[in-house]
């Protein structure tokens, strides 16, 4: 920016900045002082301490979970829609045959390690057999625990 100005203008501008400059800095300082002396403005949530009151929203997408009734029965029919909807092979539905020879859910293998919690599987499931749970404390030191079997019981059929 090469702007041509006279010496008089330059000096005028220089002196003006000598006043406005410190004033602008004072304005900035006033904001920090205001924040410093007002403990009500602190917005911190203390996570491990607030564990009891901390609740995720209803739609929060945590880990995948099977919808089960009181007896542990699930609604899964092992149709594999979720497996096809999953973008990255996080779901592996392994069907089996029950005593009547009908295809039912054997193991619902869920790879939490690669799950991106996009929720496409839940969307794809025609029977509402799975959902995203509200769990978020999921850190582990052992990566093999991230591979889990979601169903406790074989599917019904």
């Amino acid at each position: 920016m090469t702007e041509r100005i006279t010496t008089k203008q330059y000096i005028k501008r220089y002196l003006k900045r000598c006043i406005t400059g410190p004033w602008s800095l004072m304005c900035g300082l006033s904001v920090t002082l205001k924040y410093f002396f007002n403990p009500k403005r602190i917005v911190t949530e203390q996570y491990p301490e607030n564990r009891k009151t901390l609740k995720m929203h209803e739609r929060y997408r945590g880990r995948l979970q099977m919808v089960e009734d009181a007896d542990g029965n699930n609604h899964c029919t092992a149709c594999g829609m979720c497996e096809r909807a999953c973008p990255n092979a996080s779901i592996n539905v392994q069907p089996t045959k029950n005593i009547a020879g009908k295809k039912v859910l054997g193991r619902y293998v869920y790879h939490f390690a690669s799950c991106t919690q996009c929720g496409l599987c839940v969307e794809a499931c025609p029977f509402g057999a799975i959902r995203m749970c509200q769990e978020f404390e999921v850190a582990t030191t052992d990566s093999s625990t991230l591979e889990m079997i979601l169903n406790k019981k074989e599917g019904q059929g």
Binding site: E45, N88, Q94, T96, K102, V109, P126, F127, F136, V138
Partner: protein, 419 residues
């Protein structure tokens, strides 16, 4: 490190010395576990959540970990936040090596644990940081919430508190974790099990069928009821500037080779008439006319296409199609040039994968914006731009083999998505 590692050797034989060693352990672990300084390292989405966790709302400072060091030499914890690509991997390993021990690694997010969304059909992402450096704590999620990161931090803290100078911290080993292989093996194993089960159950099933010939399951899967919504037609807001047919007429007057792909019995005019009002006009133009056509629409006053949106390409069986997207800032209309480029058939089959198959004049002297975009097309498709000043690979290493966006591209690291 250093002196305290000798403490057990000297003190343990001394009577009562082991209590001193225990005390040293306690103090050292206490200090290490409560003062974890992370390294500022983030490549993508998880980095934002990592930043969020150090901000006012979640405040990682409560754990004493707000001292994000920009230099690896002063950091204790390597939070790998974000996807690791093959190109980034050496840098990541070097950063880890530069950290003084004891150092810990926290893999944050699905990408760093297993490759996450980038497992299938991917040639550039490292599937899991464990392949590169030893990882202590895994925090799954995409991206994990700040609370989840804190939970990871607390998990790491627990881990550090269990250490002892009798078995001092040492560099762990990297693990070859081919998650996909494990998935497949598990599936195979299950299939085997199924076979055995089938055999075992055969008798019981037959018996069951005999006993209950007209067995009907009580289980009736209930379909989720979906709300009914009205069907709504799309309304296209017309673009400004020249209409599609006006543009096409003007272009064809100058370049007779310009057409619009018409399928079946529709005439070109009919196709243009039927175009949605907000769709850009896509004109197929001969490769020989390409440069002069771009020049023409740039300089012609009624077109004045001064803005290059993008240059990209599509790979078809026998030809590429170069798409040059142009827009007029002044008028507001958009014009896409689709230039079919015949693939060079003279190149022998075995060399095709690594050879440049087509050639087209560059437009980077007309639009500086095209410089990087054409490099991208060169990198991804292997189309040569004659006259380009600086035609290098842009996203991939210079020794990368092949052009990934070609349909026949193969790479040993790529896992095909099952159909």
């Amino acid at each position: 490190m250093g002196i305290i590692n000798f403490a057990p050797k000297i003190l343990d034989p001394v009577p009562g010395g082991k209590y001193v060693v225990n005390a040293i352990d306690y103090v050292v672990n206490w200090a290490r576990a409560n003062s974890i300084w992370p390294l500022t390292y983030g490549t993508s989405c998880c980095a934002i959540e990592m930043m969020s966790s150090s901000m006012a709302r979640y405040d990682i400072a409560r754990f004493g970990s707000e001292v994000f060091r920009a230099s690896p030499r002063q950091a204790d914890l390597f939070i790998i936040a974000g996807t690791i690509t093959r190109r980034m991997a050496p840098a990541l390993q070097m950063l880890w090596e530069q950290m003084p021990g004891p150092k810990y690694v926290l893999a944050m997010g699905a990408c760093t644990i297993s490759g996450g969304p980038f497992i299938y059909d991917n040639y550039s992402v490292v599937r899991g940081a464990q392949n590169l450096i030893p990882v202590d704590v895994f925090v799954p999620g995409c991206p994990p919430r700040p609370e989840a990161l804190f939970h990871g931090l607390l998990t790491l803290r627990e881990k550090i508190l269990k250490e002892t100078c009798r078995d001092p911290w040492h560099e762990g080993d990297t693990k070859d974790v081919a998650f996909m292989d494990r998935y497949r093996e598990a599936a195979k194993a299950w299939a085997e099990l199924e076979k055995i089960k089938d055999e075992e159950m055969a008798e019981a099933r037959a018996k069951f069928k005999e006993e209950n010939p007209d067995y009907k399951s009580a289980f009736k899967p209930v379909r989720v009821v979906k709300e009914n919504f009205p069907e709504i037609a799309r309304e296209a807001t017309p673009s400004r500037g020249l209409s599609q047919s006006e543009m096409f007429a003007k272009l064809q007057a100058k370049f007779p080779s310009a057409t619009v792909p018409a399928s079946g019995e529709d005439t070109v005019e009919a196709v243009i008439q039927n175009m949605a009002a907000d769709a850009p006009l896509e004109v197929t133009i001969d490769a020989n006319d390409y440069l002069s056509a771009v020049e023409f629409v740039k300089n012609d006053a009624s077109f004045s296409m001064d803005y290059l949106i993008d240059v990209t390409a599509i790979d078809y069986e026998d030809h590429f199609e170069l798409i040059t997207m142009l827009r007029s800032m002044q008028h507001g209309h958009k014009l896409f040039f689709c230039t079919p480029l015949k693939k060079n058939a003279d190149i022998p089959e075995e060399k095709r994968a690594t050879a440049l198959l087509a050639k087209v004049p560059t437009v980077s002297h007309l639009y500086p914006a095209a410089e990087v975009k054409e490099r991208e097309v060169y990198d991804m498709f292997g189309i040569e731009f004659t006259g380009h000043q600086d035609l290098r690979r842009i996203f991939l290493d210079k020794d990368f083999v092949g052009y990934p966006l070609r349909k026949d591209f193969t790479n040993p690291d790529m896992i095909k998505r099952p159909v």
